[in-house]
Symmetry: C2
Subunit: 399 residues, 2 copies
């Protein structure tokens, strides 16, 4: 039944094994596996085996990937960036379908096989971006699993008609409902969150709320969010993205928020930005809160930085949290692999039998070296098929 | 007289020019330059021309570059790291000459032609590391300009005999005298700084003092340092490295310190660590303080991170200071080019006639793209000769 035998790889724990793959899934992992002569062999050459990487938070629809350089002259406020982007989109004729596809393929080349992408839904663009990313999702089905989040980037209450568009977006197949700063942007937090949770509840969809609000303001909003998770019993189905406030409150307040997040099984997403307070990884782990990682925008009108490389993001999580020991750097790797899959609900994930055969081979002594030195990907396998070698997608995949 | 004509490159301001090189220096920069037929031509293909990059603060002697992975199990305190390193060096037989050479060549490959390297001097290692890095400096003369800093990593006062070793190091050709946390490590700041400045004064050498002390403690030490710069009139000859305290005091205290730094022409080095407060780049520029950039250790017993790529360090400076506009990212580039050359006193630097012909070509629309996307180096020229193409050193250089 085996379709492919991946020989001679090392697991993160150091064990030398072979991997038998059948019908796109891992069938067996162990030493000296056998297979009939007709089964395809792939030589692992003693390289380190990692599970396919997970991007927990990006914006495929906004990227200028594979476009000429966007010269950034944008003002410093959050609203400057939101307004500038809406105007740029309208003026530039930005094609969210082709750019999201190009960026998703670049992610695949670097070993990422699961992506949660927020997608702007607003009264200017309507559902155009969502339709574009859904087209990419379909075009790349079997290669990359893309979750879409219908995201009100311009606010939920401020522009009438947005809630109706989100309602439609969920009906049309968006996987998750997104939210945004109920105080700072919507300026009516209780009403904003009631509308948002009402929509999620109506459609039975998970939530992912971008909370940029700092310090005690963000902590206030976070408590309002957690009240509603509790009331609707949305345990395990809500993510709070960014949550800068967890890096900006005193130890007692932090402790109380982490306890609530853990009890309500609300996961927290971090991009580990060097210039902002961030949720502390060590404290989250100790409290039993799932913290996972994502890039946010990559080379868009918000930021000129970013690359579709989840090992680079893990490296930033490590640097931001001052993780230097090999075992601690393993926590950063978990943020872009197991923890991200768990938080986003990507099924059949990992290096165990039954999991989807999404595999990455790298030349590294272990996970710490792979992260800290952001080593190149030697081989990427998705759904049991080789899709990239030595940093290049196979022609059949790139086409 | 022209030895090489570099055709068709773009300056950072966008001008399309040729560059005539003679005897290792830039002879002319301008459109449509002519040269006799026998002069070597190098096709610039419209690529962006950058000056050779400058590493303002690293530790060539400590790196494990091109060694097997060092498994980090070190405790979290500064003194844990210092003591662990001294013990590891003694036990491992670490060869500072071969590792420093390997790392310096990796820097060159990525377009760095000037390096300030701190080198440990202590009563265990004596001057062994300094001699090793001086051997590398001589081996690579003409390819990379290496400045050495005789650096008392284990403290100046705590281990008797250190001052005498530093005295000897300066006599044996160390270019700069290094210092370290006069409160936190030496615990007798006035005495520590008096000994340090006395040695610098005796030898007429510049100073580079590593000041990790946070907040008001670091600000106290910084004032003590500035008092002595003033008393000895060492204007323009002192660098304070790290200076985390500048990111950890209130606005009024910061303003006062920046005014003194500017008046005494004391430059500040930052590695822009994501997990520590840092000197704010915008405020330093506004106050007229030269802030420049460096990597600190690369893949050593202190940190598993780092790469010998000054565009990556500029990217981190940009991220740490939340620089997003193209013009602001130009400031981050200045930190690893012009500002670093000025602060370290590297002569004949830049893209103007008379400067040493240290040149880097990259495929980027401008400096902002080169930094934010950390673009690969297409061509590196050092002292008028091609040393690397497409990310590989020429065999003659690597040998």
């Amino acid at each position: 039944m085996t379709d492919m035998l991946l020989n001679d790889v090392r697991l993160p724990d150091g064990a030398a094994v072979d991997v038998a793959i059948s019908r796109g899934r891992i069938e067996r992992v162990g030493p000296n596996l056998q297979a009939p002569a007709h089964v395809a062999r792939e030589a692992g050459a003693g390289l380190l085996l990692l599970p396919g990487l997970v991007e927990g938070h990006t914006h495929l629809d906004k990227t200028t990937w594979e476009s000429p350089w966007y010269v950034n002259q944008v003002g410093p406020a959050l609203t400057d960036r939101i307004d500038n982007e809406r105007a740029w989109r309208a003026a530039s004729g930005h094609d969210a379908a082709s750019h999201s596809r190009a960026l998703a393929l670049a992610f695949l080349r670097e070993g990422t096989t699961r992506i949660r992408s927020h997608v702007d839904v607003d009264t200017d663009a309507g559902l155009r971006h969502l339709e574009a990313v859904h087209a990419t999702r379909e075009a790349l089905a079997g290669l990359i699993e893309i979750q879409t989040v219908a995201f009100p980037q311009s606010g939920l209450l401020g522009r009438p008609g947005t809630a109706a568009l989100l309602d439609l977006a969920l009906a049309q197949g968006a996987d998750v409902l997104g939210g945004l700063d109920p105080c700072a942007i919507d300026r009516d937090p209780a009403q904003s969150l009631d509308v948002l949770f009402g929509l999620a509840d109506k459609h039975g969809k998970p939530l992912d709320i971008h909370l940029h609000e700092p310090g005690d303001l963000g902590a206030f909003s976070l408590d309002l969010i957690l009240d509603r998770v509790q009331a609707l019993d949305m345990r395990g189905r809500v993510v709070v993205s960014h949550a800068f406030c967890l890096g900006g409150v005193d130890a007692r307040r932090l402790d109380g928020l982490l306890k609530r997040l853990a009890a309500l099984e609300v996961a927290v997403l971090t991009t580990a930005p060097p210039s902002r307070p961030v949720p502390p990884l060590r404290a989250c782990r100790e409290a039993g809160v799932t913290l996972f990682g994502g890039n946010d925008g990559i080379r868009d009108t918000w930021t000129p930085y970013g690359s579709p490389d989840m090992l680079a993001r893990a490296m930033m999580i490590g640097l931001r949290n001052d993780l230097r020991r090999d075992d601690e750097i393993g926590w950063a790797f978990d943020c872009v692999s197991g923890a991200a899959a768990r938080a986003c609900g990507f099924a059949d994930y990992g290096l165990t039998p039954g999991a989807r055969a999404d595999l990455v081979l790298v030349a590294a002594s272990g996970v710490a070296e792979a992260v800290a030195q952001r080593v190149p990907r030697r081989l990427v396998i998705s759904g049991g098929a080789v899709v990239a070698r030595d940093g290049r997608l196979l022609d059949s995949v790139a086409a």
